[in-house]
Symmetry: C2
Subunit: 314 residues, 2 copies
């Protein structure tokens, strides 16, 4: 059994070293040094080169790195009959929730303003709503979105989620589909986006959506936090919304072009926080372990977990 | 039955208005306009003037505003036989945990450095430990400390607590007393102080304590977060520790003198965050409601809750 890595610009050495550490018997190959194509049973990929996976006649499963699987479609000629597996890493989920809870609390507690006061040695207390008066809306209620929503709820926020299908999560209002988007936005002070990038979500975070966010909250005004994918957002609309008041502030971890170009006005906007797509990094050891467990079960005839629905795109 | 307010520089009008709103039948008095001293059955106080409470012959309970009760000892001549009640406000507890979780995550996620990168339009990713690799130590495991510790645990941190008596809280290591202080500090990367101010805790956050904090963590170095009372800390020691590396950074909500004097070097230290004693504000409606419930039960012959142990001072 051979295992192929095709990880674009990731630190492949590190990933292969960690895997070898977990199972020294594995025959690991690194694209483009595939060897005999028929040897390859499984592959872990990030932005796979077009048509290459299709050349592997015995490929049994494709593991997709990262929480979102949109990158895999850079291969426009994927084999039709090989299951694509989403990597689920509890560690990655925890890290994403750290990021989301941090930035929601940061805006809720008006810490940007206090930091500014500090630069003036100014001791001044602002009106502070309770978390129970701040309505957070989480777009995307997959592994990441559900965990973040539950932790925000536990911190005391009023939390709703918006997703393709209705979810039943205790204490969290569930909105579904385009028909309920406006109602979801109307009750949302802080919008957290953890959606997958699909044809249906590309460019969803645009001026029309920002306009529908709650304007009657106890806080400073609507806030956008995007830690999903850059192409979910229309960056020129974010800049406009920050000017016309449809958005008060934003925390952005992902961008239409990464690294964010030096000339982007987002870098210097006084109410925008920029992080370099680091909200949740993948841990090689945890993910390799997950892959090995899936392979072991698959070879024992059990079904694979977290297989992507190609129709939906996630 | 008459109820006396003696709230020093608090917005007494607001407190009395909210109380009247809850129970229009109440006879409310505002110090120094006490009227007949024998009328007063209950009092809510903040920094009560020395000897005044002792003049009320029928006083049945003294409610102490704020989570800490140290302020009440500004009255050096308190009546010996009247119970002092600590105000417990779930809303205040929630707010304190918002503050603690925000600032722990802030340091853990190295957000100060990312903010600095942003000022240079610099896209650069840092090594990021998981929360499970960051050890938070909470000093003080009363209402506030326990809630904060549980929420930090739920965010994935390794959490220990230090308190006067051993506590049994799931997933949280409990250290007790001076004898176990060093061991507690040795395993702590981020120190959160929510202690009450007593003769035994005054000045506890000093150079010797900072020196014992963990120096082998995965993060940037030891961090102090004090949201307890200003007199728990020795501010000149904090400045020294930030220089010699015993502390990497600090978030301070309370100070030896408040407002923090303009000339304090803490205002401008690049790794210190200052907030104006706003970690958890008291909500008049919630606290008046709590007091009314206690009074009602007391008049029905039931015991009072949250009576302060004057020996311990909290």
């Amino acid at each position: 059994m051979a295992f192929l890595y095709s990880l674009d610009d990731w630190d492949t050495d590190l990933w292969m070293r960690e895997m070898q550490h977990l199972d020294t018997s594995l025959d690991l190959r690194l694209w483009p040094n595939v060897g005999r194509p028929e040897d390859i049973d499984y592959a872990l990929v990030w932005k796979p080169p077009p048509g290459e996976l299709k050349k592997l006649p015995n490929l049994k499963a494709i593991f997709s790195l990262g929480a979102g699987v949109d990158h895999i479609y850079t291969d426009t000629d994927l084999p039709d009959d090989v299951p694509i597996i989403r990597v689920v890493d509890p560690n990655l989920t925890m890290r994403m929730s750290e990021y989301v809870v941090l930035h929601v609390l940061w805006h809720h507690r008006r810490q940007r303003i206090y930091n500014h006061f500090q630069t003036e040695s100014k001791w001044h207390d602002l009106k502070q709503p309770a978390a129970s008066e701040t309505r957070v809306g989480v777009m995307g209620l997959g592994e990441l979105g559900q965990d973040a929503a539950k932790k925000l709820k536990m911190m005391g926020f009023r939390v709703a989620g918006w997703s393709q299908s209705r979810k039943n999560i205790e204490g969290i209002d569930s909105f579904r589909g385009r028909g309920e988007l406006k109602a979801f936005l109307n009750r949302t002070d802080i919008l957290v986006c953890l959606l997958p990038l699909t044809d249906g979500t590309r460019g969803l975070l645009n001026g029309a959506v920002f306009k529908d966010l709650a304007k009657d909250g106890f806080g400073d005004g609507p806030v956008l936090i995007n830690a999903g994918r850059g192409d979910l957002q229309v960056e020129c609309d974010i800049v406009t919304a920050l000017e016309n008041g449809d958005l008060y502030a934003a925390t952005l971890d992902v961008f239409q072009e990464e690294p964010l170009p030096k000339e982007s006005p987002l870098w210097t906007h006084p109410r925008v926080t920029i992080t370099p797509h680091n909200s949740a990094v993948s841990d090689p050891r945890a993910i390799n372990g997950y892959i090995l467990r899936q392979i072991k079960r698959h070879r024992a005839g059990e079904p694979l977990d977290n297989v992507i629905d190609r129709e939906k795109g996630y």
